[in-house]
Symmetry: C2
Subunit: 452 residues, 2 copies
C-alpha cells in the first residue's frame, strides 16, 4: 500500500486533477491520497489558503467579506465546471462555506484554523467526487472520522500518539481514500492546523499509521537535484538519497519539503519518493534509511545564507572547564539556536542564523558573552553562507575534503570556518555570501562534471 | 633591562654555571637572573627537586633521612668545589639545611613546599656568590625580600596583585639580581610553590613587574622547531612566533615551556626569547604579540595524542535550542574540559583528553549524555591524535587548508574530524594515533620542503 500526497500546484485546476487521477489509476497500490488546497495556476495567482486567511480576518472584524468569499468560491466552481462535477458539487461547497461562516468560534485562532483547514477539506471532497465519477472507487475521509487527533495548538498542532493506531484501521480499505492534508482535530472536534509543510505531515502520519510500503510525494519538480538549479544549469538529479543526506541537504534550502514534516515516515523507516505530477514517469528521487554505495563520493552540494558568526577569544580558554557550556547557555537562555561551534585553542565561534538576533539585541548579547566569559574579544562576522558537501560515501573515502577545498581555493574563495563531524557524511564551509554562487558552481564542477 | 631565566640543565654543575656567567657578562642589560634548582647532569641523574620531595617525606614520617640529605648536599658541594666557592659556601648550605630540617611546619603540605623551594633558593645563593667572586656585582634577593606575594595554595600558588608593584622596585638595581624561581611567599612569610613550569612563572612575573624589554628563557635547545625533531630530521627553527602561534603549537606538546607559565609576560606584552645556554649565539626564537608577515604560510605543525571523541547524534538535533549547551553542561559538571566540538546537522562530537575519563566512568558518562539529550546514538572513538597546522599568515592566505588536506589524502590518511575557527591562524585535524608520525612528516614536507 502506498500513501500519495499531492501539493497545491498539482491540484490547482481541472487539468492538474486529471493528471492526479491518471497517476492514481496507474497503480492500484495507491490507496490513500492526501490532498492540499488548490495552489497557484500561474505565477501571480493567489493561493486558496491565503484567501481564506483574509476571509477569516474580514469575518472576524465584521467588514464586508463577500468579494473575498466570491473569489474563493470561483476557484472551486472553476474546478467543478472543468471536471463537470455538476450541481451537487456546487451545493456541497456552498453548504460547507455556509457552515464555516455561521459557526461559533471561541477565539480568532480557532476560527482562523477552521477557515484555513477548509481549503484542503473542500478540495478533498471534490477530488473524491471526481474520482468516483471517473469510475475509480473513492471515498473522502475526514481527520475526525479517521481519528487523526492533535493537540489544541493552533497553527502548530502536534500529533497525539493514539492517532497512529486509529489510522492503522484505514489499511483495509478497498476504495481509494481521499484525505485532506494540513490539519487534524482535537478530542473536542476542533480543527487545528499544522505548522510548515502541513500536508506533508498528514501524508507522513498516514504512511506511518498504515505502515505504507512507500510514501510518494508528488510536486512540480522531477527530482531533488545535486545542486541548486538557480546556480547550476541542468544539475544532475539525485536518484537515491538516505534520510541523513536529505536532512543535510534540506538544511541548505533547496529541498522540496521541510524535513520535520516527514519525520513520522522516517521514524517508521518508510521509503519516500519525490515525483513530478507533470512528469510522473520520470524516475524521481527515492529516500531511504540506507542505500547502496554511489559511484560518486558526493551526493549533493547546497548552500544556505543568512548566517553570522560570533567570535569569542580568551587567552587560556582551552584550559577552562565549562567555557563552552557557559557560552551556549547564554545563547540558549535567549532562545538562540547555535548551528555550529568551531573552536581554536583559545577561541570559538558560534554560528547562528542571523534573523534570530535583531540589531538591538546584538550589542547586549555580545556584552553579555564578554561579561559572563570574561573574554578578551567578542565580535561578530555577518553575511555568511554555509555550504554543505554531502554524501554517505564520503565517510569511507579519503580526500573528498581536500578536493572540495582545492576547488574553492582555485576560485580564490576564502573559507571563514569549516567543520566536519564524526559520521563524515558532510562537510560544512562558511564563506562570505558574495561567494555563494561561485562556490556551488566550483564544487559542482569538481564532483559532478570532471569525472564524465 | 632584561630578565633572564635558566632551566635546571643550564645549572646542573660548575661547567654549566660558568656558561651562565658568561652569558650574563656578555650583555649588561641582563640585570635579573632567575635560577632553577640544579637539574640532571646526565640522563639517569636525579633532579634535586625530586630528592627534596623524598627528603621531606622521610622527615615527616620520622624515618632515616641522612642518606637522602647527603645526596642532596653532595650536589651542592660538587658545584661549590668545581667553582672554588670555599667554606663560606659550604657553611651557607649547611645552615640553610639545618634551618629547613628543624623548623616547625603546621602541615605536611607546608613542609613539602618549604623543602621543594630550598632547591632553587640554595642554588640562587650559590650563583650570587659565584658571580661576585668572578667580579660581576651580584646580589641574591629572596621572594620575601622582593615582596613576591602569593596565595597559600601549596603547589598551586597564585600571584597576589600587589606583587607587581613590589617587584617594580627592582628596576633600579645596579647589581645583577639573582632570584630563586619556583616559589613565592604568603603575607605570613610561608614559602609556597607554583604549579608546572614554576621557574618560568617567576621569570614572567619579574619581567612584568619591572617592565622588562625582553624576557630571555635559556634552556637546552637552540630554538622552537617547526615540527617535532623526533619525527622530522633537522626541522627548521622558528625565528619568530606570535603569542597566539606559540599557544597553538605548545598545546601540541613540543614546546619548551608551559604556556600558562609565561602568561604574566604575555599580559604585559613583553617579548620572550628562547635561547640555548650551550649555544648562546644561536639566533633562538623570538615570541611577540605581532610579527612581520612570514614568507611561509605555515609557521609550524604539531601533534598531540591521547584524545577521544564522543559522538552524539539525534534526528532534528539542529532545530533544538540548548542541545549543545546541555551536552557541555554534562561534561563541565564532571570537570571534563572539552577541547573541540565539531558539529554536523544532527550530530556533534566532543573531543576531550582521554585521561580525563577513566574507563569505569566512561559508560556512566555515555549513558548520562544519552539520557539527558534523548540522543539516538552516543559512542566514543578513542586513540585520536590532534594535528595542528599553525601560522598567522594562514588567516589571509587562501588554500592552506586544501594543501594540508591534499598532503594527508596523498598519504592515505583518513581525517576523522577537522575544524578551523574564525581567526584562521590554525587548522585542527583529528586522526588515528597510528597516523601521527606520517601526518607530521607529510605536512612538514608540503609546507617546508617543497618550496625550496
Amino acid at each position: 500500500m502506498k500513501v500519495v500526497k499531492f501539493g497545491g500546484s498539482s491540484l490547482a485546476d481541472g487539468v492538474q486533477l486529471t493528471k492526479v487521477l491518471n497517476i492514481i489509476k496507474a497503480d492500484p497500490d495507491r490507496k490513500i491520497v492526501v490532498v492540499s488546497a488548490p495552489g497557484k495556476r500561474f505565477a501571480t495567482d493567489q493561493k486558496i489558503t491565503d484567501l481564506l486567511i483574509k476571509l477569516a480576518g474580514q469575518v472576524r472584524i465584521g467588514s464586508d467579506y463577500q468579494q473575498t468569499l466570491a473569489v474563493v468560491k470561483e476557484r472551486y466552481d472553476a474546478i467543478i465546471q472543468q471536471l463537470s462535477l455538476g450541481t451537487k458539487a456546487v451545493e456541497l461547497i456552498d453548504r460547507n462555506f455556509a457552515q464555516l461562516l455561521h459557526s461559533e468560534y471561541a477565539s480568532f485562532s480557532e476560527q482562523l484554523d477552521a477557515f484555513k483547514a477548509s481549503g484542503e477539506d473542500n478540495n478533498a471532497q471534490l477530488v473524491a467526487l471526481f474520482f468516483e465519477q471517473s469510475g475509480l472507487p473513492a471515498k473522502y475521509i475526514s481527520p475526525k472520522e479517521a481519528g487523526l487527533y492533535v493537540t489544541d495548538e493552533p497553527g502548530h498542532a502536534q500529533i497525539l500518539s493514539e492517532t497512529y493506531d486509529n489510522l492503522a484501521r484505514l489499511k483495509d480499505t478497498s476504495k481509494c481514500i481521499i484525505f485532506p492534508g494540513f490539519f487534524g482535530v482535537t478530542k473536542n472536534g476542533k480543527k487545528v492546523t499544522f505548522a510548515r509543510g502541513g500536508s506533508d505531515i498528514t501524508g507522513a502520519v498516514l504512511a506511518n499509521g498504515v505502515h505504507a510500503d512507500l510514501y510518494e510525494n508528488f510536486t512540480d519538480v522531477d527530482a531533488i537535484y545535486a545542486a541548486d538549479p538557480r546556480y547550476v544549469t541542468k544539475p544532475q538529479q539525485i536518484q537515491h538519497l538516505t534520510y541523513r543526506e536529505m536532512r543535510e541537504l534540506s538544511y541548505s534550502g533547496f529541498s522540496v519539503f521541510h524535513h520535520e514534516a516527514i519525520r513520522p515516515a522516517i521514524m517508521a523507516n518508510i521509503p519516500i519518493e519525490v515525483k513530478n505530477t507533470n512528469n510522473p514517469t520520470a524516475p524521481g528521487t527515492l529516500i531511504t534509511k540506507e542505500k547502496p554505495l554511489d559511484a560518486n563520493d558526493v551526493t549533493g552540494v547546497a548552500a544556505s545564507h543568512g548566517f553570522e558568526s560570533i567570535y569569542i577569544s580568551k587567552y587560556l580558554m582551552n584550559d577552562e572547564v565549562g567555557f563552552g557550556s557557559t557560552a551556549l547557555e547564554v545563547m540558549a537562555q535567549r532562545g538562540i539556536s547555535v548551528e555550529h561551534m568551531p573552536t581554536g585553542i583559545d577561541e570559538m565561534s558560534l554560528v547562528v542564523k542571523e534573523k534570530q538576533i535583531n540589531d538591538s539585541q546584538e550589542e547586549e548579547l555580545l556584552a553579555e558573552l564578554k561579561e559572563r566569559l570574561q573574554a578578551d574579544d567578542v565580535h561578530r562576522q555577518t553575511n555568511l553562507t554555509l555550504i554543505m558537501v554531502v554524501g554517505e560515501k564520503m565517510a569511507t573515502t579519503i580526500g573528498t575534503a581536500a578536493k572540495a577545498m582545492t576547488a574553492l581555493a582555485n576560485e580564490g574563495i576564502g573559507i571563514r570556518l569549516f567543520n566536519q563531524s564524526s559520521s563524515g557524511i558532510s562537510i560544512m564551509f562558511a564563506l562570505e555570501e558574495k561567494d555563494e554562487k561561485k562556490a556551488i558552481q566550483a564544487l559542482y564542477e569538481t564532483f559532478f562534471n570532471e569525472k564524465k
